[in-house]
Amino acid sequence: MRLIINGEPYECRVYPGSLLALLQQLGFLTDDATAFSMRFVVALNQHIISSSRYASTALQEDDCIDVLSVITGG
């Protein structure tokens, strides 16, 4: 399955099924689905997906996923 993650092409060898599974596969989340300890925000095709919807959000071929987190700024 081909996705675009943070602007780069990404080939999933194992179909992740849901956004939650993908975030676990990429290391943003632990396998424990309740452990949303890391601080980031996700957009799927330029629409924000809140953490409560990770598990119910199915992925499709060529979806664009952006994972953003804090940086310093002026």
Partner: protein, 273 residues
């Protein structure tokens, strides 16, 4: 007499607002924040890998120290939309910032020119209109154009933040006449100088002109001693505000002696001798 800065119904603890970028280390940033005691601290968000996100959770990271400072001081986070060139980009980034930082405050930045980093007035207005409709408290980084500032205020921005000079230049108040005009023509607006300040004296001058606050980053972070410079800016902002409230004397062309001449012996008598 109470001189608290109120914006959108909230009391902002200081008239000095500080960016979190460009410091030599997270520790120096943290110490500079302690010295400056800013009302807002700006920060941003970008695409990151899992490893980068994890790094930000470490206790000595910028983010951890910043969170700790904000928790202890009562300062507010002010996420920005730096790097956006269209209203659409800025709106999405603002929405993501709200989700990430759990705040409605946004420093709206939409750039119109690569070289000068001049804000794009049309895209800025479009983005501000939409974000205000979505419940954001929009603090737009804008030019010192009077009509633009007025338009942003009429849209519902609780303050406007005109530049003094292009971001990171440290050139200070390039057009004080225009800034003074803004103060005079928008007497009830909250006006914040954002960008271009390089010295504490320039921050003080902005406050003396009647600006309500200043937002800066590079002038502190790139100083040889950022922590000492943060303290210097704090004092300058306090001094400038006090001077504005005290009421500056009117400038005049002709000299006038401050020491009374009445009673001076030999007053204009030299020719008579």
């Amino acid at each position: 007499m109470n001189d608290a800065l109120m914006i959108a119904g909230e009391t902002i603890g200081s008239r000095l607002w500080l960016g979190s970028s460009l410091y030599p280390s997270p520790q120096v940033m943290s110490e500079a924040l302690q010295a400056a005691q800013p009302g807002f601290v700006t920060l941003s968000l970008r695409r990151q890998s899992a490893a980068q996100v994890q790094q930000q959770q470490q206790p000595d990271s910028h983010w951890s120290l910043l969170q700790s400072y904000v928790r202890d001081s009562g300062a507010r986070l002010l996420p920005n939309t730096a790097g956006c060139y269209t209203a659409r980009e800025a709106i999405l980034l603002a929405q993501m910032a709200r989700e990430l930082f759990a705040t409605d405050w946004i420093k709206l930045e939409v750039i119109g020119d690569d070289y000068s980093l001049q804000p794009h007035p049309l895209q800025l207005v479009e983005a501000a209109r939409e974000l205000i409709a979505q419940g954001f408290k929009v603090l737009p980084y804008c030019t010192d154009d009077l009509v633009l500032c007025r338009t942003l205020l009429e849209l519902g921005c609780p303050a406007v933040m005109p530049w003094a000079a292009p971001i990171g230049t440290g050139k200070g108040l390039l057009n004080p006449w225009q800034l003074q005009t803004l103060r005079e023509r928008l007497p009830d607006a909250v006006l914040v100088i954002d960008a271009g300040l390089g010295k504490p004296s320039q921050a003080m001058a902005a406050l003396e002109l009647g600006f309500d606050a200043v937002l800066l980053n590079t002038a502190v972070a790139r100083a040889q001693q950022p922590v000492a410079m943060a303290a210097a800016f704090r004092q300058a902002v306090d001094g400038g505000r006090q001077a504005y409230r005290a009421g500056l004397m009117c400038e005049q062309q002709q000299a006038s002696p401050s020491t009374p001449v009445l009673g001076l012996p030999f007053w204009h008598q030299e020719g008579a001798l």
